[in-house]
Amino acid sequence: MNSIFELFQYNFFLKALIAAIFASISCGIIGGYIVSRRIVFISGGITHASFGGIGLAFFLGFNPLLGAALFAIFSALGIQFFTKVAEIREDSSIAIWWSMGMALGIIFVFLTPGYTPNLMSYLFGNILTVTSTELWWMAILNIVIIAFFALFFNKILYIAFDEEFARASGLPVALFNYLIMILIALTVVLNIRVVGIILILSLLTIPQATANLYTNDFKKLLIFSTLFALFGTISGLFISYFLDIPSGAAIIFTLVITFGLLRLVKYLTK
């Protein structure tokens, strides 16, 4: 197995490994919040809507992740607006933004002259092509998320668990919800390169489901989710390399198998 050690000499592989670690931390924490709060579907809507921004960026020729970030935040606000102000059912609002973003993306990509070679890597992710700049952005996001959750952990927990009680106690609930929505949008966008738009929900839900097998404590859930995500992304990365299959799919496959096996073990040992 010399080849494993040889791998670390390759710059692209080291970058992929660092990306995997960053993705696991941000998705582990944010995903734990999303799952506990039951807003997986909103996150799915934001994720898919961001494809519209990627399409627009291709069409106008600027950084696709910037386009994705704009659309992600815009759709997060749009879903809120549709639900709260226009009084459209929440799940319908989500579906509207979800599909509208995808449709816009396809139109823009279609209108863009020439071939768009990277499109697949945005849809399904390719951790091996992550750039240094993207890694820096991921690092900053990770620091922001860790700092935010460390500083306001109890308040985040109390708002997530019982929003009404938190409001009655005088917490600035709307502000917290708004900030976390932005963090969710940025987490989704910066991890698109790792597993892709279509597969990112997996990093936000499967490690959390696995962690939930072992704990019902919010803090432990966030930590365990991050650890399971680390295991899944790093082993997925190796599997992807040695079997020569797409990295995003390999990572998710590892996450699902891990969950399935541990769930089975829990069932059998009970």
Partner: protein, 250 residues
């Protein structure tokens, strides 16, 4: 004596449609007010207005100096059916959330001590590390009661604390509330009039008009046509018979 909370000509509701109109109510020290009325009559709406969760359309809710400020000295026990029982949170953390905005505790150790004492007192110390999803209805109510009274509020507001609770615990609950009432005013919405009547000191009958919020396209003429005044009556020491009569009317 100055009331802790003074409600004057309060009109409040949802989406511009009033559920309660021109409500007047004083909540004074050592009050134990039972709030009754038909479903949709505005009982919970009244509680939410007092808690600041709903903005009044008109009228005022005035707080005495004792409980005013951003850290309002009001304990709140919401309807348990609105709680997500699958949320990953332990009993201890739920109770601790009762200290969110309070400055009265000096450091984590003091909060922990107070919580442990409260859990002990309520007979649920042994389950403090359990997830709330694993609790029975009675245990849940105890946990949420602990959360509501953790910060020694001046007013305790309870929304149907007797749902999902067996008869034995219901008795314990009201006995506990009777003791708490010596230190704080209590406003209680109950779904069971028979039990509430023997413990509460006064009754507030909140009777809104169901038509107001079931349909979203009601015109002002219709609202006037129903001519349904929302009455909040407070009177002392109501005997059972009057209550039962009241109940049948609905």
């Amino acid at each position: 004596m100055e009331p802790l909370i003074k409600i004057e000509n309060l009109t409040v509701g949802y989406n511009k449609i009033p559920v309660l109109k021109n409500v007047n109510l004083d909540i004074c020290e050592n009050d134990f007010i039972g709030v009754i009325g038909p479903n949709g009559g505005g009982k919970t709406t009244l509680l939410k207005a007092i808690l600041g969760l709903l903005k009044p359309f008109s009228g005022i809710i005035e707080f005495s100096k004792d409980i005013d400020g951003s850290k309002r000295q009001i304990g709140y026990l919401p309807q348990v059916k609105h709680i997500d029982r699958k949320f990953p949170i332990t009993v201890f953390d739920v109770v601790r959330s009762g200290s969110i905005m309070q400055n009265q505790f000096k450091g984590k150790a003091q909060i922990k001590l107070k919580i442990d004492n409260l859990l002990e007192e309520m007979g649920i110390y042994n389950i403090r590390n359990r997830a709330i999803g694993e609790l029975s209805g009675g245990q849940m109510q105890r946990v949420f009661l602990c959360r509501a009274i953790l910060s020694n509020p001046k007013v305790l507001i309870l929304d149907e604390p007797d749902t999902f609770v067996d008869n034995r615990f219901e008795g314990e609950l009201y006995e506990k509330l009777r003791l708490l009432n010596e230190e704080m005013a209590i406003v209680l919405v109950s779904h069971d009039m028979g039990t509430i009547s023997s413990y509460v000191k006064t009754i507030a009958c909140v009777n809104g008009n169901l038509h107001y919020h079931r349909s979203s396209n009601i015109s002002q003429e219709q609202l006037d046509g129903y001519n349904c005044p929302i009455q909040v009556i407070t009177h002392g020491e109501i005997p059972h018979t009057v209550l039962k009569h009241h109940h049948k009317e609905q």
